[in-house]
Point group: none
C-alpha cells in the first residue's frame, strides 16, 4: 500500500507574506528520490491551539507526518511544546539534545543561555535526529501509528538533515519500489488547449497508466507524462516517442526552468552551426538582444544589436528610407523588412530579426491597435515578415514578441516546415 | 469577531517540487492590506477526492475559503468540477463565462475549442469574477455559510483579479477595524546589514510599537515599518519621516513589486524633466535598454540603444578608436568613456550610460577576473567612469550592472551627493 506522507509547515512568516516557502521543494525532491510523495501540505502560523489540532488530525490519516519549523530558541518556536501536548506526554530535558547544544556552544566559544537551552526539551520518548550545522536538533515520535518527524526551518540545515539522516532512515521502513517516473517535454508554438485537443484527437487510445500534466512557464509550456505503476513504466518510452514525433518542431528540448527563454535553445543551435545572429528592435527595446546575451557563450554568435526606438534612429542606424517610414509608418511590413536588412548588412551576421509594434498602453490607432506587431526574420537569402496582434499588457507583449521572433529563427535552423500555432 | 480565512492551493506541480508557491505571498499582501489574515493554508495535488474532502472541511471552519489554481482548460484543471461535487450542485454552462471566452477568443482571432469551452462550465449559482488578462474567469459560491472564491493560478492574472475584483468586494463584507498598518520604503544602494546598523546607531530610541522588516526584491530592498496597535499608528508618520530624511537618495520610492527595476523610478524622472537617455551596452547585451523600454511612455525619453558586443562593433557603431581597444582592451575606462561619448553623439540624448565587463563564466583573466566591469555615466558636460567587481553568476551580474548604471543616473538627476554604499 502507498505510504501516506503529510507535511505541516509552521511559522507566521509563511502566512503573512514575508517569506516564500522554498522548503516544500526541498522536501518533494528528497522524498521523490525514494519513491515517496507528499499527499497533503498544511501551513499554519505560530498558534499553539491550531497546531495541536492539526497534528492530531494529520497524524490520524498519515503514515508519516513531517513538521517543519518552530525548533528555534525564541518564544514563537512552539513545535516541541505543541507536539507534547498533542501526544499527551511531557516535555523533558533530553540528554542527547542537551549534549548537542553544549558542543554547539563550545564550538562557538559561547555559553548556553535560557532560550538556547529550551531547544533541549523534547517530548518524552523522542528520538533525536542530528543537526550538523545548527543548534536545533530534529526529533521524531510515534503517535496514532504515525511517524512524526520534526525538522528545522532553515533551508540549509533542513537539506543536510534530510540527506544525511531522514532519507536514509525512511528508506528502511517506507521506501516504495519505484514505479513513479516523469518524462518532460518543453514546447513553444502550441498552447495548452490546442495541445490537449491534438493529443485527444491523435491518440484516442492513450493509456490510462500515463497521466498528462501541463505547466506553463511563460513563454514555454512544459508537458509532463507521469506514471506510477509498473505497466506505465514499460509503456512510457513508446508513448513519449509517439508524442515526440507528433509535436516535432514545437519541442524545444527536455530541460527548462522558471527563467528559461527561447534563447536558451536557439543560442546552442547557432553555436553548433557556427552562425551569427543580429537583431533590430523597436517595440521590444533590447529584450531580444538581452535574452540572447544572457546565455553563456553568446559572444561566439552575437556581435551587435540595434535598439532603434525612434523613427530617426531607424533611418540613421539601419538605413530605413525616410520615405518608407512616411509612407507606411514605423509599424509596417516595409519598415521591418528594411530594419532586418539594415541590421544584417551592418553587423555581417547570418540571421536577422527585426520587430516593430505597439506595446501600449498608448499609441494604438484603429488601423494599428495596441498589440500590433510586425516581425521580420531571415538570412542572407530571404527575409520574410509577418503581422501579429498580441493584445496583452506591455511587458508580456514584449516577452511574447521576443519569444516568437527567436522561435521563428529556431524553426529555420532546424529546417522545420511545421509552423507554430501562432502562424495558423 | 475575527474573519476566518482559509486558502486551498491546488496543483500537482506544487506537491512534486516543480514549482515554488509564490501566490501565497500575493494573497497575504492583498488581504493584509484590508486587515484580513490567512489562518490556514492547505496544498493538495490534482486529486478530485482529496480536493472535495478538503473543500468540505475547510468551508465548515471558515468565513472565506479561497481556492487557487485548477481553472485552466486541461484535464488536470479540476476546481469547477470538484467544487460542484463538494457542494452537491451541477456544473452548468455559465452565460457570462461563455461570453468572456468568446470575447477572449475573438480578440486573439482564434476559435474556441472544446478544452477552452470547458472553462465556461461552473457550479450552479456561481458568481463570475472578471479576469481581464486570461481566459479563465474566477467565480464564487456560498456553501456551509462560507464564501468560496476560486482564483486563477497564473500570478499576473491572480494579482489583477485580487486588486480589481476580490479585495474591493471583501472590503464590503469582511474588512476588520484596522490598527495594523505597514509603511514601505523601496531602496537601492544600501544593503540589509548596513541599513540595520545605520538605523541602530542613529535611532537608539526606536519605539517598540513599530517593528522593522526587510524584504529583498532583487535588486531592490524593501524596508517595512509595521505596527499593530493604536499608539504605533500615531507614531508611524513621524518615524517614517525621520527614516526618510536619514536614507535620502537611497530611497527609490514607496511602491515596488517583484519585477521592479531601477528603470521604474528613473524613467518617470526623465519624463518629468524632459531629458533623454541612451545606452551603449557590451556585457549587459541590451538589458539596460530593455528595462528602460519596459516602462510605458519610454518613447518620450529614449530613442536609441547600442548593443556592441564585439570590439569591431564598438568601433563601427560608437566610434571607439581601434587603438583604444588594442591598447586598453574592451573592459577598460578608456573604452567605456569612448562608448558613452559615442552613444551620446549618435543619439543626441541628454544622458548616457556605457558598460563593458566580463559576465562569465569564461573570459576572465588574472588582471580582469570574471565579474569585472567598467561603467561610464554622465551628460553632455561630464562623463565619468568607475570600476566594480561583482563576482556572481552571469545573469545576476547583468542585473546588478544594469541596476547600478541606472541608479548612477538617477542620483545625478536628483542632484544627490549621497553616494551609494557600492561606491563607498
Amino acid at each position: 500500500m502507498k505510504t501516506k506522507v503529510s507535511l505541516l509547515l509552521t511559522g507566521s512568516e509563511l502566512m503573512n507574506g514575508d517569506v516564500t516557502d522554498t522548503n516544500s521543494v526541498i522536501f518533494a525532491e528528497h522524498l521523490n528520490d525514494i519513491g515517496l510523495s507528499i499527499d497533503k501540505k498544511v501551513t499554519i502560523g505560530d498558534d499553539q491551539d491550531l497546531l495541536a489540532i492539526e497534528i492530531a488530525q494529520l497524524s490520524q490519516g498519515s503514515d508519516v507526518l513531517i513538521i517543519n519549523g518552530g525548533l528555534g530558541p525564541t518564544v514563537d518556536d512552539l513545535t516541541a511544546q505543541v507536539l507534547a501536548t498533542a501526544c499527551s506526554v511531557n516535555l523533558v530535558l533530553h540528554q542527547q539534545a542537551h549534549q548537542h547544544l553544549k558542543l554547539w556552544a563550545e564550538k562557538r566559544k559561547t555559553v548556553l543561555n535560557a532560550p538556547n537551552l529550551k531547544q533541549a526539551y523534547l517530548p518524552e520518548n523522542s528520538t533525536v535526529i542530528a543537526n550538523k550545522t545548527g543548534s536545533a536538533v530534529g526529533f521524531s515520535v510515534e503517535f496514532n501509528q504515525c511517524l512524526i518527524i520534526c525538522t528545522p526551518g532553515v533551508p540549509s540545515e533542513l537539506t543536510h538533515m534530510l540527506k544525511e539522516e531522514i532519507v536514509p532512515s525512511l528508506i528502511k521502513s517506507f521506501s516504495a519500489p519505484k514505479h513513479n517516473e516523469i518524462a518532460r517535454l518543453h514546447l513553444f508554438g502550441i498552447g495548452e488547449s490546442n495541445l490537449q485537443a491534438l493529443i485527444n484527437s491523435t491518440f484516442p487510445d492513450w493509456p490510462n497508466e500515463i497521466t498528462i500534466g501541463f505547466r506553463a512557464a511563460m513563454p514555454i509550456l512544459e508537458l509532463k507524462l507521469i506514471t506510477c505503476c509498473e505497466k506505465g513504466q514499460v509503456l512510457l518510452p513508446q508513448w513519449l516517442e509517439k508524442l515526440t514525433s507528433l509535436l516535432d518542431a514545437h519541442i524545444l528540448g527536455t530541460g527548462a526552468n522558471e527563467n528559461s527563454t527561447i534563447a536558451d535553445y536557439l543560442v546552442p543551435l547557432l553555436i553548433e552551426s557556427k552562425q551569427k545572429i543580429t537583431v533590430a528592435e523597436s517595440c521590444t527595446g533590447g529584450l531580444i538582444a538581452s535574452q540572447i546575451t544572457a546565455i553563456a557563450g553568446a559572444s561566439a554568435i552575437f556581435e551587435a544589436g540595434f535598439v532603434t526606438y525612434s523613427n530617426e534612429m531607424k533611418s540613421k542606424m539601419l538605413g530605413v528610407p525616410v520615405t518608407t517610414l512616411i509612407k507606411h509608418g514605423a509599424v509596417s511590413e516595409a519598415t521591418v523588412l528594411a530594419m532586418a536588412q539594415g541590421a544584417l548588412i551592418n553587423s555581417d551576421a547570418d540571421f536577422t530579426i527585426a520587430v516593430s509594434g505597439i506595446a501600449g498602453p498608448d499609441g494604438g490607432t484603429e488601423d494599428k491597435p495596441v498589440g500590433s506587431v510586425w516581425i521580420a526574420w531571415g538570412d542572407k537569402n530571404k527575409i520574410q515578415a509577418k503581422y501579429y496582434c498580441i493584445p496583452v499588457a506591455r511587458k508580456y507583449f514584449q516577452q511574447v514578441v521576443a519569444a516568437r521572433s527567436l522561435d521563428l529563427i529556431r524553426r529555420m535552423l532546424i529546417n522545420s516546415n511545421n509552423s507554430a500555432y501562432y502562424d495558423k
